[in-house]
C-alpha cells in the first residue's frame, strides 16, 4: 500500500515515562488486531493482541486499547526502558480466513536515557 513508501513517524520518550503509540485501522469488519515490535536488523516480534469483542487487554508493561467506534488502536508501554526502542507496527485481520494481516505504517519509538 501507499504507506509502505513513507518514512516512519518517530516518538521520543524519556526513560521511565509512559509511551503511547497510536494506529488507525481501515476496516470496520476487522476482528483481530496485533502489535509487533521490530528491533533494528531483526524480524518483527509479537507483543500483544486483542479481539474486537474486547476494548482493553493488558500484558507485562503493555496495554492495548481498541476503540471500534473511531477505528483506533493504541499501545501503551509503562515505564519505558531503553530496550523498548524499536519500530512498532499494528496489524489487523480483516475477518477473512487464511488471508494476510494488513500492517500499519509503523512508528519508531526512541527512548531518551
Amino acid at each position: 500500500g501507499e504507506s509502505v513508501g513513507l518514512h516512519l513517524p518517530t516518538l521520543s520518550v524519556q526513560e521511565g515515562d509512559n509511551s503511547i503509540i497510536n494506529c488507525a485501522y481501515s476496516n470496520s469488519a476487522s476482528d483481530y488486531f496485533i502489535w509487533y515490535k521490530q528491533e533494528s536488523g531483526k524480524g518483527p516480534q509479537f507483543i500483544i493482541d486483542i479481539r474486537s469483542n474486547m476494548d482493553k487487554r493488558q500484558g507485562q508493561r503493555v496495554t492495548v486499547l481498541l476503540n471500534k467506534t473511531v477505528k483506533h488502536l493504541s499501545l501503551q508501554i509503562a515505564a519505558t526502558q531503553p530496550g523498548d526502542s524499536a519500530v512498532y507496527f499494528c496489524a489487523e485481520n480483516m475477518g477473512a480466513g487464511n488471508t494476510p494481516l494488513v500492517f500499519g505504517k509503523g512508528t519508531r519509538l526512541s527512548v531518551i536515557a
Binding site: Y32, G41, K42, G43, P44, F46, R51, N98, L101, G106
Partner: protein, 120 residues
C-alpha cells in the same frame, strides 16, 4: 515449539544476477507462508503468500517470484536482480483457521530473522 529460519542472513549481489532466498518452518504443518520486503526505515510490503504447496498469491507485480516446493519451505527468487530489489526480506508463517493443537490465535503471523539483500 515452532521456529522459522531464513538464509542467508546477508547477501550482496551484482545487478543482473539471480537470487534465491529460502525460508523453512519447523514444528508445524500446513502453515500459511508469506514473503515481505522492507526498505530501510520503511514499512512492510507484502510480496507473496501461500496457503499450500504450489499455491502462490502475488501481491505486487515485479521481477521476483516465489515457490513452495514443500509444505514448510518457501523460496523467493529472481532471474535478474535490479538495484531496487535491495532491502530486508522477511518470511512469516501463520497457521490455518481452525488448526488445533497450537497456542495463540490462528491469525497471528510469526516472522523469521530476515535476509538483508544489497544489490550493487
Amino acid at each position: 515449539s515452532q521456529t522459522i529460519h531464513q538464509w542467508p542472513a546477508t547477501l550482496v549481489q551484482p545487478v543482473g544476477s539471480p537470487l534465491s532466498l529460502e525460508c523453512t518452518v519447523e514444528g508445524t504443518s500446513n502453515p500459511n507462508l508469506y514473503w515481505y520486503r522492507q526498505a530501510a526505515g520503511r514499512g512492510l510490503q507484502l510480496l507473496f503468500y501461500s496457503v499450500g504447496i504450489g499455491q502462490i498469491s502475488s501481491e505486487v507485480p515485479q521481477n521476483l517470484s516465489a515457490s513452495r516446493p514443500q509444505d514448510r519451505q518457501f523460496i523467493l527468487s529472481s532471474k535478474k536482480l535490479l538495484l531496487s530489489d535491495s532491502g530486508f526480506y522477511l518470511c512469516a508463517w501463520s497457521r490455518k483457521q481452525g488448526a488445533q493443537g497450537l497456542a495463540g490465535s490462528w491469525e497471528t503471523q510469526y516472522f523469521g530473522p530476515g535476509t538483508r539483500l544489497l544489490v550493487l
